[in-house]
């Protein structure tokens, strides 16, 4: 009890110094809470936007197809399965897709490209591509003989709306797959990979050209929140017949690069955060060293009275804990307040909305309100500041009572 009491009162010996140090901690905490919640919000937006453009959050595929996409590795009776999954999951965002490769030709040029067969009715619910048509329109129906393609590909092939696109590939059964379809739409997703290569056909047309029957290569599921993905994955998996050879892959398995990109960004940001925390830590270490040095005689008296060096060290450590908690409390209130406000109002800066809109991204970021967002930064600050007080506290162990008492 006396230890707690002494530590608390010692903290207030130099009010101005205590408040200045607590302010440094509070400033760092405010900044970290705001930055981390914003960062997590931005990651969610990035993941969401990336997945919504094309991939979806989950996909049902034949085992091994993702690593080695072969025409024969199909999902049988795909549209019926997609309908069953819609009913079971309660999600509208379920659509079948088939994928092949073809030589896409215009009158003057040819390029090898992936061709995707989609269900136009449902594709708009799993992908933002149908909403990113810059010229013309999206595919009208399952059976329509028409195609949409990316803007860069259209430019490279010198194709415009109404021009004919010739596709030449090989079907599931090894036969020649060939068709000529008019271009009805050109999309611009902001994703160079999609804009340069992708051609979409209605699923029935694709199945007919590539002799797929009712098969497709993937059922794309989109819509659940990040937190609900594992549950939806389990629901979808339960609908697959045992021994069917089908698997449910989540977005991290489908686009491992996205997670790596986020992790790399996180590491980069944390280097900045750690630099900030180190500056605060050094200021605290300085405060505590001063505080210990100026109280050497007092510590000597306490040692003479029978107090153990260990107890005095604990008092100094407790002072650091109190000071840090004070700064963290203020910082959490400020940083948390800003994060909560911006979570509802959105964070943006002049010009951001216009730039983001070109790529189909929302023009504002909403900081993510999560336990990690609020506690990660403060927890690291807490550990560093307590460690900063450890050195002065450990110095006390070396104090000799007689020398300490005669210290000036």
């Amino acid at each position: 009890m006396i230890t707690l009491q002494l530590a608390w009162r010692n903290l207030w010996r130099h009010r101005r110094r205590t408040w200045l140090t607590a302010s440094a901690i509070a400033f760092a905490t405010t900044l970290l809470v705001f930055m981390i919640t914003l960062q997590l919000g931005a990651y969610d937006m990035m993941i969401d936007t990336s997945l919504r453009v094309f991939t979806g959050q989950l996909q049902v595929q034949r085992q091994g197809y993702h690593a080695k996409p072969q025409m024969r590795a199909t999902v049988p009776d795909a549209q019926a399965l997609a309908a069953r999954l819609r009913a079971a999951s309660g999600l509208d965002g379920v659509a079948a897709r088939a994928q092949g490769f073809a030589l896409a030709s215009s009158v003057s040029r040819s390029y090898g490209v992936p061709v995707i067969g989609v269900e136009p009715e449902f594709e708009a619910r799993v992908s933002t591509l149908p909403h990113l048509i810059k010229q013309g329109r999206y595919l009208s129906s399952d059976q329509a003989q028409e195609a949409v393609l990316g803007a860069a590909l259209a430019r490279n092939l010198k194709l415009q709306i109404g021009d004919e696109l010739t596709l030449l590939g090989s079907g599931k059964d090894g036969s020649i797959a060939a068709t000529i379809v008019p271009v009805v739409g050109i999309f611009e997703s902001g994703n160079p990979e999609l804009d340069r290569h992708l051609v979409q056909l209605p699923l029935k047309t694709f199945q007919e050209v590539f002799t797929m029957g009712d098969d497709a290569h993937a059922i794309v599921v989109s819509g659940p929140s990040h937190e609900a993905i594992p549950q939806t994955q389990a629901t979808v998996a339960a609908q697959l017949a045992p021994g069917s050879g089908l698997v449910v892959l989540d977005w991290e398995q489908l686009i491992p690069g996205l997670r790596q990109l986020i992790q790399a960004d996180m590491v980069q940001n944390w280097i900045t955060y750690i630099a900030l925390i180190l500056i605060v830590t050094l200021s605290i270490m300085n405060t505590f060293l001063m505080s210990v040095l100026e109280r050497t005689r007092e510590f000597g008296i306490m040692l003479a009275l029978g107090s153990s060096p260990w107890r005095i060290g604990v008092i100094v450590l407790l002072e650091s804990v109190y000071l840090t908690l004070l700064g963290l409390g203020i910082g959490l209130l400020l940083g948390g307040g800003i994060a909560v406000y911006l979570h509802y109002e959105g964070f943006t800066f002049p010009g951001m909305a216009e730039i983001y809109a070109q790529f189909g991204l929302p023009g504002v970021i909403h900081p993510k309100l999560s336990f990690a967002g609020f506690t990660l930064g403060p927890a690291v600050i807490f550990v560093f500041t307590v460690l900063a007080a450890l050195y002065p506290a450990l110095r006390i162990r070396k104090l000799q009572p007689v020398e300490a008492i005669h210290a000036v």
Partner: protein
């Protein structure tokens, strides 16, 4: 009748090393302080009186010889055992800045008892009684900064004797006090010695303190040159 001794020093010596130079602070000190004694170590600066007081109190270690306090060999104790000895058997009064500035007078008096693990109610009663005895009624909740030098020394005395130690060591207790306050403090210490039966050893230059003591031990260049009982 066998006289009981609170402190026994046998052939005690202390050498300080200052860089490469050895300084002989005490040489072959032999001393016995009986229980309830009121003894004064005097001598010029550098004579070794504070060094001897520090060795007896376990604040420093002798280079040679034996020191026994209340039956315990101080020179053989480890760091934590010395802390325990100081906590339970020895009270200290230093010349100034004796008190913990963030604690009130009563909390300073309770401090040692808290370290000893005494129950809150018991130590509050004892602290109040002793503060009353040293004449600090009404000043219990003042912090050291709000007390005069004499009042602060009274609190230090109260703290030193409240847990009823065998021995109180006072290193120049009147050094920062005016003569009137110093006399009052010495009267108080003499009263405590008689009332509580606590052994007192002072180190001082102050003639007033010497006049109050019942035994005057004079040191010079680290050796006892005179030891006079004045009863």
């Amino acid at each position: 009748m066998i006289m009981e001794h609170t402190v026994i020093c046998r052939h005690v010596s202390k050498v300080y090393r200052q860089e490469s130079v050895a300084v002989q602070a005490l040489t072959d000190i032999n001393l016995e302080i009986p229980k309830k004694d009121f003894a004064c170590l005097s001598g010029p600066s550098g004579s070794g009186k504070s060094t001897l007081l520090n060795l007896i109190g376990g604040l420093d270690r002798p280079t040679g010889g034996e020191i026994t306090v209340d039956g315990q060999r101080v020179d053989q104790l480890g760091k934590s055992e010395l802390a325990a000895l100081r906590l339970h058997k020895i009270g200290f009064v230093f010349q100034a800045y004796n008190l913990i500035p963030v604690l009130t007078a009563i909390e300073n008096v309770e401090f040692v008892m808290q370290l000893q693990g005494m129950a809150a109610a018991e130590r509050a009663v004892k602290a109040r009684e002793i503060l009353h005895e040293v004449g600090l009624d009404g000043l219990e909740y003042r912090r050291p900064g709000e007390l005069s030098g004499g009042q602060q020394q009274r609190v230090a005395v109260a703290r030193a004797i409240v847990s009823e130690p065998s021995l109180v060591l006072a290193d120049e207790p009147t050094a920062n006090l005016d003569s009137k306050t110093a006399e009052n403090l010495m009267q108080l210490l003499a009263h405590m010695n008689q009332e509580h039966g606590v052994t007192f050893i002072f180190s001082t230059h102050d003639k007033l303190v010497m006049d109050f003591s019942r035994r005057l031990i004079t040191l010079h260049d680290g050796s006892i040159v005179n030891d006079v009982r004045r009863e």
